[in-house]
């Protein structure tokens, strides 16, 4: 679908939510689909600007890479780094199963 056709479907919103790891509800899908359709219709106006030869700006202030000497500096302790973890074990982050049963 080209952006010109405007509409974003409920199914598309569901797909995007999956990509973004958001387990949205059916009610939210209904609401968001309508709202995003209106918002996209409005932001699509950027397409009206003739800008073919214009370079894109990702950052307003031109910056070069910043380097620092590779020296040892104090950082967070293991205890500090784990202090906000939902679960920790043996000095490590305890995370849920990453691979599926069948994998």
């Amino acid at each position: 679908m080209s952006p010109d056709s405007g509409a974003i479907s409920r199914d598309e919103v569901a797909h995007l939510a999956r990509l973004a790891r958001l387990a949205v509800t059916d009610d939210e899908l209904d609401t968001f689909a309508g709202q995003l359709d209106v918002i996209l219709g409005s932001v699509a106006r950027v397409g009206e600007v003739a800008a073919e030869d214009i370079p894109p700006t990702s950052h307003a202030v031109p910056l070069e890479n910043v380097f620092r000497p590779d020296e040892l500096r104090p950082g967070l302790t293991q205890e500090q780094a784990l202090a906000g973890a939902p679960a920790a074990e043996d000095g490590r982050f305890r995370v849920p199963r990453i691979l599926g049963e069948e994998q």
């Binding site: 080209s2 952006p3 974003i8 598309e12 919103v13 995007l16 939510a17 999956r18 990509l19 973004a20 790891r21 958001l22 387990a23 949205v24 509800t25 939210e28 609401t31 968001f32 709202q35 995003l36 209106v38 918002i39 996209l40 409005s42 932001v43 699509a44 106006r45 950027v46 397409g47 009206e48 600007v49 800008a51 214009i54 370079p55 894109p56 700006t57 990702s58 950052h59 307003a60 202030v61 910056l63 890479n65 910043v66 620092r68 967070l76 500090q80 780094a81 202090a83 906000g84 973890a85 939902p86 679960a87 982050f93 995370v95 849920p96 199963r97 990453i98 599926g100």
Partner: protein
């Protein structure tokens, strides 16, 4: 009401340094005020009473020992809850970070502490700084002290309301598309968005990294300038921090207060201020122009033809950066986690569903869309080109004028609930403030009076080139001095408890 809470930060600091008032008394007066009115205003998400009093006591000790203290030592401040604080929770107005204690201080927090400024607590905000009304906070809205049924602006509504309700003389905000300036406008306070890179983003929880900028909020231009010099300046911990001296904004504000703007060219941006602006906002702006002219400034009209595409470009660039930045909230290392026992991917999706509010989800989905292959060139890529054109518009306008002006926001404070279910209507609040963020230039809002039809505050936006803060503060201070001499400070009615 204690007289101490009515003082400006500059006045309060002088009295503390002269030992007429102790820093502890100043802190206590503001803590009492918070206890008295914040139930109604809800500017604060967390008040750090003990830490505030301890910090103030340290300043008193230093002064008693004859040590040199900073220009704002002992002055209380309200910190937007988007800066990390190792001794207080940092929630960003989100359930996903409820109760989170960061293991480190933001550079802004560190600099405030080093200056002996008393951090009273953390202020309410739209979740992850996405919103223009503070209604998108997961912890309930902040109310505008001018009318408790109305919004205090956003996303930094808590910081602005704290100033207007005399809960603090200083506050810190962040401005991604207007989140310092629009709340300042609708609460009758002063708010400054510095040049991009002028204030460190280290420890500022990211919304849109190429647009986010922390800055000072206060009730007077001089107070904002004093705070600006505390928090501004190069920080090696932020790779986008500008390695240049902080502009001399305090000197500029003092110079400006003498009220002479002769020889200065003030550009009126033709594209900001026409259709969609409330009549009282328009009228206050026109009066403001006459005032600037009376002060000796030459008013010139400038055209920035691509500004009308600013909002469209912004609402593609911002959600794109948001969708990437907020991927860090994955329920693995800190913050909320729900549904133990499921797979990591399910835990992530369910946690983000439970922890994020509707506006954050909308923007994540929108950004994911704009960055999708097939749409990237038409949306994100094109928006970045429009961003270039907006920067060029600014460059051309600044060739004709030293500063640019516009109304800060199209309307005065609107009723709570009015726009919360209409995202596009909410986005229009930032029409006039967004271009400065896209171009990385500086902007501020100073009170310009009250709108005739509703008696609510209106703000004048002053914009200056990158690192041109000195001239911006000079104009702001001159405008303020002249307006206050004629009409007095804008003081919100006493909060009904």
């Amino acid at each position: 009401m204690s007289d101490l809470i009515r003082l400006s930060a500059a006045e309060l600091a002088e009295r503390i340094a002269a030992k007429e008032v102790s820093a502890v008394e100043a802190a206590q007066a503001h803590l009492d005020r918070i206890a008295e009115v914040d139930g109604a205003v809800h500017a604060f998400l967390h008040v750090g009473t003990e830490a505030a009093l301890a910090s103030a006591a340290l300043v008193d000790e230093q002064i008693a020992a004859g040590q040199r203290v900073s220009a704002l030592a002992g002055v209380p401040l309200a910190l937007k809850d988007v800066f990390t604080t190792s001794d207080m929770p940092t929630t960003c107005g989100s359930k996903i970070l409820e109760g989170w204690r960061p293991p480190y201080d933001a550079t802004v927090t560190t600099r405030l502490r080093a200056a002996g400024i008393t951090i009273l607590g953390k202020t309410n905000m739209d979740e992850f700084a996405m919103g223009s009304s503070t209604e998108h906070s997961a912890y309930g809205p902040t109310r505008n002290p001018w009318d408790l049924s109305r919004i205090p602006g956003g996303s930094g509504g808590g910081s602005a309301a704290a100033l207007a309700a005399f809960e603090a003389p200083l506050a810190i905000g962040t401005d991604t598309g207007g989140s310092i300036r629009q709340p300042a406008a609708v609460t009758g306070t002063v708010g400054v968005k510095p040049t991009y890179g002028g204030v460190s983003r280290y420890g500022l929880v990211a919304c849109a990294s190429s647009l986010d900028q922390g800055g000072p909020c206060a009730r007077t231009v001089l107070d904002a300038a004093l705070l600006h010099e505390v928090i501004g300046g190069h920080d090696p911990l932020d790779s986008t921090s500008i390695d240049a001296p902080v502009p001399s904004v305090v000197e500029a504000a003092r110079l400006g207060a003498s009220g002479d703007l002769s020889g200065l060219r003030v550009g009126v941006v033709k594209e900001l201020g026409g259709e969609g602006y409330q009549p009282g906002v328009r009228a206050s702006f026109d009066e403001g122009l006459q005032r600037l002219e009376k002060l000796g400034a030459e008013i010139v009209e400038v055209s920035c033809p691509h500004f009308e595409y600013g909002m469209a470009a912004y609402y593609l660039i911002l959600p794109s950066e948001v969708s990437s930045n907020l991927a860090r909230f994955d329920a693995m290392r800190y913050g909320l986690r729900v549904q133990e026992g499921a797979s990591a991917e399910e835990v992530m999706a369910l946690t983000r569903e439970a922890g994020f509010g509707p506006e954050v989800k909308r923007r994540i989905i929108l950004g994911t869309y704009a960055l999708s292959s097939g749409y990237y060139d038409a949306y994100y890529g094109q928006a970045q080109k429009v961003r270039t054109l907006i920067s060029r518009d600014f460059a051309a306008a600044f060739a004709k004028a030293d500063v640019l002006v516009s109304p800060t926001a199209p309307t005065t404070a609107f009723p709570i609930g009015e726009k919360v279910d209409d995202p596009l209507a909410m986005y229009l609040n930032d029409l006039a403030t967004i271009p400065t963020n896209l171009a990385g230039v500086a902007g501020m809002s100073v009170p310009s009076g009250l709108a005739a039809e509703d008696g609510l505050p209106v703000g004048l936006q002053i914009m200056a080139p990158a690192l041109g803060e000195a001239v911006m503060y000079r104009v702001g201070a001159a405008f303020e001095a002249s307006r206050v001499a004629d009409e007095g400070l804008l003081i919100a009615p006493e909060v009904a408890k």
